[in-house]
């Protein structure tokens, strides 16, 4: 058989540090207890539109440091993003092709 694709990519291995793909994050991220940020509906709209956003102090208190975090809305992981502790900003990693 001429196989095209099997399964899903769950981990980006070519980035500076390995990180979950959005597929991997939504499948397995629900079990995470740290580095998980809960968004408001307005923030979620910006996240899905791939716009960066600024987290509140409360939202960023549970985040260890700058780095990749899981994005939570309504107790569901919708993807991941890059958190910068210096300005509490979150860069959206939501996949362009899903829009």
């Amino acid at each position: 058989m001429r196989r095209r694709h099997t399964g899903l990519p769950l981990l980006h291995t070519r980035s500076k540090v390995p990180r979950l793909t959005t597929e991997g994050a939504t499948l397995f991220g629900g079990r995470a207890t740290r580095n998980r940020v809960r968004l408001t509906p307005e923030q979620l709209d910006r996240y899905i539109a791939r716009a960066s956003l600024v987290l509140t102090e409360d939202q960023s208190v549970s985040l260890d440091a700058s780095g990749v975090v899981l994005v939570d809305f309504d107790r569901a992981i919708v993807g991941n993003g890059f958190y910068r502790a210096a300005d509490r900003s979150l860069e959206s990693y939501f996949p362009k092709k899903w829009l």
Binding site: M1, L8, D74, A76, F94, K97
Partner: protein
Amino acid sequence: MTYFSDHPFHRYLSLVENPGQFLTFVDRPLERFVWTNTIKTDPKRLFQILERGGFAPQLLPWHPAAFRITGHHKGLGSHWAFMAGFFHIQEASSIIPAMLMDVRPGMRVLDLCAAPGNKTAQAAVALGNRGTVIANDAVSGRLSALRSTAARLGLLNITTVCHDGTRFPRQAGPFDRVMVDAPCSRGWFPSICQGFGSAPDSLDGTDGPFTRTFATPSGSGPISTTPGASLSPSLSACFRRRRQNREPLTAGRTDSSRNYWKRSVGGATSGICGNGLAFQNRPSRVWTGYTTDPDTFSLWPTTTGCRP
């Protein structure tokens, strides 16, 4: 008939008893239906999410995890729960074939004409991300839509392959279920069937129901009719046992899809099966050069979910 000759669905008119009623139906705007991705959430939670979004979901009487959207449907495809893969949008009559396959975790399933992959995804979800779905399509470019759907829904058990469906390689091994939703609208359906007819051993070892479905023209099905009101076969699911000597599929089974078989194998020619789907036995007909089996049944969902 001349009056309808310009209608895009005029080729189906020879199949229906009331062409005017059929065309009136297919000209109506489509309703929206969604099914729950049970790998990521459950129907109860999805119902709450959709209700909060103003979509006014209504559980389908013939499916435990699918909803009719009775409110507005603006933004349904860009809703966060859709993006997170909690549900998939699929026309009601298209939900039926994969449902009737009675796929269970661990099975090996072949979807011979898979793109765009909605029924493939449904089968993969029914497998609970276990087992295997081989998703084949003759055109490789059409498989990209399937990959996007699988990625969003988090389906790990799909392998895509690209072969001419009439010459699917026997090296693929046996399958528990085979679904052929051939694009009949392009005249492919007869050639697929002839392909299997001329090479009956091409799926040798397959031990399961061989399911064929006519493609639904533009996804329009008689989904809002009451039982008996409209019998347009925009979705006709045809079933055939692979081996004549095998025990009927109904034996010892009590679930709703098997009830359908009990009724049909038991000699009933029309009615409502246990899960609220209406069925009618159709006499053998010639359509687009292909003669349908005399044991062909037309199936269509009911709005009321009448139970026998």
